[in-house]
C-alpha cells in the first residue's frame, strides 16, 4: 500500500493550519487545530464531519476567504499562504451551498459565463459577448444536457436553483483550475436537482481529471463519491481513508464512526479519570 512517493509536489499541501474564532474570549472556538493534509493531483477528496467540525473553515482557509493564525498552504509547490482570495481564485474554482452566490441574478446566463471565463485573464464587464465566445459558451452549456443552451440570453434569476448550481459548476471549472472546492454545493437543492448536480460534478471531475475537495453532510454521498474520505472533528482529522480503505467504507461504518464521536463528546474529565483507572 505504501506506493513510492511521486517526485512531483502534491497538488495541495496544508501544514499545521490553525484557525481560531473569537480568540481570547469565552467564545473561543478552534475551527482548525493545526491541520496537515496533502492532496495528490487528480484526487477527489470528500470531507465529512459534524456541525462545527471545521469542514467549511478548511475550505475557506484553502480558498483564502478568511485569514488563519498559523500554518502554510502550498498549491502545486507554490506557497500561497499570503495570497489574497482573488489571486488564489485564478487557480482554485469554488461552488458554494447557496446557488445565488455563484452567479449574478441580474445578468444573463451568457454574461455570467463570459465573466467567469475571463476570470483568470481580464475581469471587466465591458467584455463583449462575441460571436466566437458565444459559440464556445453554447457548446459548453450544451454539455450539461439541461437544454440551457437555448436560454443563454435569459436573466440568471429566471433559472431554478439546480440549473444555476449546474452553471456555477461549469463556471468554476471553465478555466481548468488546479483545484475545485465544492462546499456542500447540493445541500440547498431539492433531491432531484441535487442528484443532477452531483452527477455533473462527478462527470466533470473525472473527465477533466480534476483535483477536487468536496464538503458534504450526506453520509451516502461520502460513501458513493470520491477516492478519499476525510472525516473531521473539532478542527482535526479524525479519519482519513484512501484507496481500497475508502472503497470498502459503507454507510453503517460511517454512522458508527459518528456514533463513536458522539460517545467521545460525552466523556468528561471525571469519566476519563474513571476510564483510565479501568484500562488493563
Amino acid at each position: 500500500m505504501n506506493s513510492p512517493k511521486a517526485a512531483a509536489p502534491p497538488m495541495l499541501d496544508l501544514h499545521g493550519v490553525r484557525k481560531v474564532f473569537h480568540p481570547g474570549t469565552p467564545y473561543k472556538v478552534v475551527a482548525l487545530d493545526g491541520i496537515s493534509l496533502e492532496v495528490e493531483k487528480g484526487s477527489f477528496v470528500i470531507i465529512i464531519g459534524t456541525n462545527g467540525s471545521g469542514k467549511s473553515a478548511l475550505l475557506n482557509a484553502i480558498a483564502g476567504s478568511v485569514p488563519f493564525e498559523s500554518g502554510r498552504i502550498s498549491l502545486m509547490g507554490r506557497d500561497i499562504t499570503g495570497w489574497p482570495e482573488h489571486l488564489r481564485s485564478k487557480y482554485i474554482g469554488r461552488v458554494f451551498q447557496n446557488p445565488l452566490m455563484g452567479t449574478i441574478t441580474e445578468l444573463t446566463v451568457a454574461e455570467n459565463l463570459v465573466l467567469s471565463s475571463s476570470r483568470s485573464t481580464l475581469r471587466s464587464l465591458r467584455t463583449a459577448v462575441t460571436r466566437r465566445s458565444m459559440n464556445d459558451i453554447k457548446d459548453r452549456v450544451a454539455s450539461l444536457k439541461l437544454g440551457l443552451e437555448t436560454r443563454l440570453n435569459e436573466k440568471m434569476g429566471a433559472l431554478s436553483g439546480g440549473q444555476r448550481q449546474a452553471l456555477t459548476l461549469l463556471m468554476a471549472t471553465w478555466t481548468g483550475p488546479d483545484l475545485l472546492l465544492l462546499d456542500e454545493h447540493t445541500a440547498a437543492l431539492d433531491p432531484k436537482s441535487a442528484e443532477l448536480v452531483l452527477h455533473l460534478s462527478e462527470q466533470i471531475i473525472s473527465h477533466e481529471r480534476m483535483t477536487a475537495i468536496m464538503v458534504t453532510h450526506s453520509i451516502q454521498q461520502a460513501v458513493n463519491l470520491g477516492d478519499r474520505l476525510v472525516m473531521m472533528h473539532r478542527g482535526r482529522i479524525a479519519h482519513d481513508d484512501t484507496g481500497p480503505d475508502k472503497q470498502r467504507l459503507r454507510v453503517r461504518e460511517l454512522l458508527s464512526r459518528f456514533e463513536m464521536i458522539r460517545c467521545g463528546e460525552q466523556v468528561d474529565q471525571n469519566a476519563a479519570v474513571m476510564l483510565a483507572e479501568q484500562i488493563i
Binding site: 458508527s256 460525552q266 466523556v267 474529565q269 469519566a271 476519563a272 474513571m274 476510564l275 484500562i279 488493563i280
Partner: protein, 416 residues
C-alpha cells in the same frame, strides 16, 4: 390478517387468520420474533383460519423454524386448510406438521439441574458438566500488562500463541504475522473453546475472528494476556425473577463463585443483552509515542472508545472473563464490578446480532458453533463498571443467559 396468542405453560399457540401474503408476512415475522424474544421456545402455529399462503409466508415459516431449531425449541404447524396444506406440502415443509421433538426426545439423557436458587434480581439453575475431568482451571499471566502504563511494547514482548479448545485467553493481541505486521491492529481479544475474537481498532463493528476446525488451531500475536487451561465443571441458566429484572455482571460472578465454591472463577457467558458498558481501543495502543497519551484527558479520547451509556440492548453477547474476591492475587488484572467493590473482574465481551438461545444444559463448543454459524460478531468490548455515583453508566446487565464456570487456580507464568 388477525393474530391471536395463547400461552399454555412452556408452549405458545398462535392463531393466524386471513391471508399470509407479502403484505402480512413481515408483520407475522416481527410478531413471531417478538414472541421468541420474550422467551418462547416451543411455538405452535394454528393455521385453521388461514385462507392463503404465498412464498413470502413460507419464508417466514422457514426462518422461524430455523431460529427455534437452533435454540433447541420447536415450531409446529397445525390444522391447515387443504389449500394451505398442499402449498406447504409441495415446497417440502410438510415435516413442520409433526413435532420433531416427539421422535427424538432426549431429555432422559441430558443432565438435570443439581441446584436452583433465587437471588434477586436473578433466578439461577445449576447443572454439572458430566464430561468435565478437572476440578479447577489453571490460569497464568502471559507477558506484562503494566508495560501499557510504563513505556509501551516492543517486538520482544510479542508472542505467537495457539488457542486449542481447552485454552481460554483475554488480553491485548491481534491476528497477523508477527509484531511488525500487527502494530496498527493490536486491540482486545478473547479466546474460548477454539474460538478467538479480536477487536478491530479501525472499525469497531467488525471484529475479526478465527475458529479452530479439525487440525486448524487459531493463532494470535499476543502482547499480554491472562490464560487458562481446562474445562468448565459447572453450567448455569439464569434469568430475571420477573420480566424487566436484569442480571448485573457482578451477580453472575457472585453466583458463579458460590456455585464453584471458590473465591476466584472463570466463566464464559452467553446472554441476551440489556446493556453493555465498556471500552475498546480506537487506535492500537503500541502506536502511542508516550503511554500518558492513552491515559490522560483529553488525549484518552483519541485512543479509547467509551460509551457513557449502556449499549447493545437486545443483542447477544459472549462474555468471557474471570471474577474474584481475592484482591491480593489478581489485583493488577481485575477491577471492581459492583458498587461495593467486593467482586472484581476482567471480562471481554463479543457482541452478536440477536438469535434465540436454547434452554437447558448445553455444551459450550456446540453452542459457539451455532453462534458463529452464518453470522459474525459485531463488536468486542472490554467490559467495565462505571461506578461514578451520579454520571456513571453502572454495570453491564443481561436479561437472560447461560454460563459455563470453573474455579481457577493461579500458577506462575510458563514460557511458551
Amino acid at each position: 390478517m388477525q393474530i391471536r396468542k395463547h400461552i399454555a405453560g412452556p408452549k405458545v399457540e398462535i392463531h393466524v387468520e386471513g391471508r399470509l401474503d407479502a403484505n402480512w408476512a413481515s408483520h407475522l415475522e416481527s410478531y413471531l420474533n417478538e414472541t421468541i424474544r420474550q422467551g418462547a421456545r416451543h411455538v405452535l402455529l394454528n393455521l385453521g383460519r388461514l385462507k392463503y399462503i404465498s412464498s413470502a409466508g413460507i419464508r417466514v415459516l422457514l426462518t422461524t423454524f430455523k431460529q427455534l431449531k437452533s435454540a433447541k425449541g420447536s415450531f409446529v404447524l397445525s390444522q391447515p386448510s387443504p389449500a394451505v396444506k398442499s402449498v406447504i406440502d409441495m415446497v417440502g415443509l410438510d415435516s413442520l406438521f409433526h413435532d420433531s421433538r416427539e421422535s427424538q426426545d432426549q431429555t432422559g439423557s441430558l443432565p438435570q439441574p443439581v441446584r436452583t436458587f433465587d437471588r434477586l434480581p436473578g433466578s439461577f439453575r445449576v447443572y454439572r458438566n458430566p464430561s468435565s475431568t478437572k476440578s479447577a482451571q489453571s490460569w497464568h499471566l502471559v507477558g506484562s500488562p503494566h508495560l501499557l502504563h510504563s513505556g509501551g511494547y516492543t517486538g520482544s514482548e510479542c508472542r505467537a500463541i495457539h488457542f486449542p479448545v481447552d485454552v481460554l485467553g483475554l488480553g491485548l493481541g491481534a491476528f497477523g504475522n508477527g509484531y511488525e505486521d500487527c502494530i496498527p491492529r493490536f486491540g482486545e481479544f478473547l479466546a474460548v473453546a477454539g474460538h478467538v475474537v479480536c477487536q478491530s481498532v479501525d472499525s469497531p463493528d467488525t471484529p475479526d475472528f478465527m475458529i479452530g476446525e479439525s487440525s486448524f488451531i487459531p493463532e494470535a500475536q499476543v502482547l499480554y494476556m491472562m490464560a487458562g487451561t481446562g474445562d468448565f465443571p459447572f453450567f448455569m441458566e439464569f434469568q430475571g425473577q420477573e420480566e424487566g429484572m436484569d442480571i448485573p455482571l457482578s451477580a453472575i460472578g457472585d453466583v458463579a463463585m458460590e456455585v464453584c465454591g471458590a473465591d476466584a472463577v472463570s466463566f464464559a457467558c452467553l446472554g441476551e443483552v440489556s446493556g453493555l458498558v465498556g471500552y475498546g481501543y480506537r487506535r492500537s495502543p503500541v502506536l502511542a509515542a508516550h503511554p500518558d497519551e492513552i491515559f490522560s484527558y483529553p488525549s484518552i479520547l483519541d485512543w479509547i472508545h467509551y460509551r457513557s451509556e449502556p449499549a447493545c440492548q437486545g443483542a447477544i453477547t459472549l462474555a468471557v472473563g474471570i471474577a474474584s474476591r481475592r484482591v491480593d492475587m489478581l489485583a493488577s488484572f481485575t477491577r471492581p464490578l459492583d458498587r461495593d467493590k467486593s467482586i472484581l473482574g476482567h471480562v471481554h465481551a463479543a457482541v452478536f446480532p440477536y438469535r434465540p438461545l436454547a434452554g437447558g444444559y448445553q455444551e459450550l463448543r456446540e453452542c459457539l458453533e451455532v453462534l458463529f454459524q452464518g453470522q459474525e460478531p459485531i463488536g468486542l468490548i472490554h467490559l467495565l463498571s462505571d461506578l461514578q455515583r451520579i454520571n456513571g453508566a453502572g454495570e453491564s446487565k443481561l436479561a437472560r443467559g447461560i454460563c459455563w464456570t470453573s474455579p481457577i487456580e493461579l500458577t506462575e507464568e510458563t514460557s511458551r
